[in-house]
């Protein structure tokens, strides 16, 4: 792939911004509520400045969990979006979040179909010291990578996290759209909104919407390089063999050191009797989601990633002729 070659990509007419997928991750809850209040002004601005405004859908994903200020009511909503779960049989006693995932799929999807929204940005907070992270399933979705590059925030460290999961197995809300990513910002305790974290999220969403407007208007975005962190594995806490209670905490030398390279033999945990448990891997890796509250029950104390430098091409929106040719191409492929 030549870096100077500009890749034309389809327009993004419909974008969704989702908050409250986990009901106690409050930056997204308050931001989407605030954006809903301002929605008329946002859409009016789009129409005044641009002849081709994007439609911005604002969604509060899990209202019942939000009302109780809990992550979820019956089951984690952000694991309910696999094709299997969305299309499987639905009993009367189905968990609330399974029912809700079908509603969201009808609103933003159906997943995998031409009617799906073009981009889903799902807002999250973490108790881990991760700064601002984009989390996506692809390391070659140029739209998401370009949006990431466009976000410039001097006081907020930013990283692109890649979970190498196939479309068939993708499970999170952002997988409903043709493009999608989670915007994860920390550290913030669950059930709390911190002004600096809220502001970073607000600026992030604004810059994303600015980018989409520019893209849809025909702007060319130059290619370049992006560091991508690809998840390799999770590490659980040491646990008591009978009770499964944890027997150690994240080591003070590791706590809050997300994305600081972890070397073999570096401290991982400190047991309650004061011993140090060390990293026994052979490859230095980048830790993240260090001490995320919600992951205790998922058996994850921290996750580890490999860093690579990705080359992204220049991109622009397809012209109408290119778009029609594309669609005809698909049609003739189907005929064949």
């Amino acid at each position: 792939m030549e870096v100077d070659q500009v890749v034309p990509l389809p327009r993004l007419p419909r974008v969704a911004v989702c908050g409250g997928t986990h009901g106690n991750e409050l930056s997204g809850v308050y931001l989407v509520r605030e954006l809903l209040k301002l929605q008329r002004e946002v859409m009016k601005k789009e129409q005044e400045e641009d002849s081709k405004p994007a439609l911005v859908l604002l969604v509060l994903s899990n209202p019942r969990a939000m009302q109780q200020c809990r992550r979820y009511v019956d089951t984690d909503l952000n694991r309910c979006f696999t094709h299997a779960t969305l299309n499987g049989p639905l009993s009367d006693m189905a968990p609330y979040e399974i029912i809700r995932s079908r509603e969201l799929n009808a609103l933003l999807g159906p997943k995998g179909s031409p009617e799906a929204v073009d981009l889903v940005c799902d807002l999250h907070n973490t108790t881990a010291n991760m700064g601002l992270c984009f989390i996506g399933y692809s390391d070659c979705d140029w739209i998401c990578l370009h949006i990431f590059r466009h976000l410039q925030m001097p006081d907020t460290p930013m990283r692109f996290l890649h979970f190498d999961v196939s479309n068939k197995e993708s499970y999170s809300l952002d997988s409903l759209g043709k493009h999608g990513f989670a915007m994860e910002i920390g550290p913030q305790p669950h059930g709390v909104v911190r002004s600096n974290i809220y502001t970073a999220m607000k600026v992030g969403v604004q810059h994303m919407l600015d980018w989409i407007r520019l893209f849809n208007s025909g702007n060319v975005f130059e290619g370049g390089f992006v560091d991508v962190f690809t998840m390799v594995k999770h590490i659980d806490y040491p646990r008591d063999s009978e009770t499964r209670n944890i027997t150690a905490a994240i080591h003070p030398c590791l706590q809050d050191r997300d994305f600081c390279l972890l070397h073999p033999e570096d401290p991982l945990f400190q047991t309650f009797s004061g011993e140090t448990v060390r990293y026994k891997g052979t490859e230095p890796l980048y830790p993240f989601f260090i001490n995320e509250c919600a992951y205790y029950e998922k058996g994850i104390a921290l996750s580890l990633a490999r860093k690579r430098c990705i080359t992204i091409p220049a991109i622009r929106v397809q012209t109408e002729q290119e778009q029609q040719a594309n669609e005809q191409g698909f049609a003739s492929e189907e005929e064949e």
């Binding site: 308050y30 108790t127 305790p189 669950h190 059930g191 709390v192 809220y198 509250c293």
Partner: protein, 313 residues
Amino acid sequence: MSSYNNTARFSEARRVAIFGGTHGNEMSGVTLVNLWTKNGTEIQRKGVEAVPFITNPKAVEKCTRYVDTDLNRAFTPENLSAPGGNDLPYEVLRAQEINRIFGPKGSPEAYDVIFDLHNTTSNMGCTLILESSKDHFNLQMMNYIKKAMAPASCLVLMNEHPLLKYSTSRSVAKHPVGLEVGPQPQGVLRSNIFEAMRVILKHALDFIELFNEGVEFPPCTVEVFRVLEWIDYPRDANGNIIAMVHPNLQDCDWEPLNPGDPMFHTFDGKTIHYQGSGTVYPTFINEAAYYEKQQAFITTRRETLVASAIIKA
């Protein structure tokens, strides 16, 4: 207690309880109590029966603050004497049970000391919570702990406010002591916070052991922060929060807040300033559990209390 030559005499503090999990998602206390239930060597002291106890096991199991109602507000006289058996909220039943085991509250049979272990999302550091300015035993203990921890900070919050005082789990004992250590998110165990709480308890138990051996503690002064009032978030007509703790105030627990200082930051970017008549010392700033209690932070004023000398009776 009787005074003789201005030295206050207290009976031996033999029966001591350590409560964890009063709020089921405050992990330092849950972890310490579970640890000490399995192996209590660390909390053993000569002449002291130290009992570790999980006060709200159902909340701990669900890793939630409470199941039906806040246990740490449940020890009211009405609740403790309420009939009704299993129809009562879970935490009211628990309060009655705890009162039976460690009380009855206000009676001679009540436990001598209860330490109640808590965490907060606020940047309060190590804080001891005192319920009465006249409890010279507790004042002396807190003085001892502060001196033992120095130069590390351990501050004393005193809630004696007639309206704002609440009926805590620890209030069952003759000498109730609250331990509040933060910042720590709910449901998370941070190593440094855990170890800090452990150290506070070590010093507290050392004090009790010395006292029971007959050591006389001379008169001392103790700086405390006295609770003045709770300040709520600005809300709209529907009761929804419309502003956040201002970045200048966030994490500034115990630092002076002057009239005119920034206090809240609205979602659309405006600053709301503190309108009080004088300087106050805010704390419990942005505690997660207090959003539903309409409390963004509390204001305090600094006071120096005098504790008389104490000795075992």
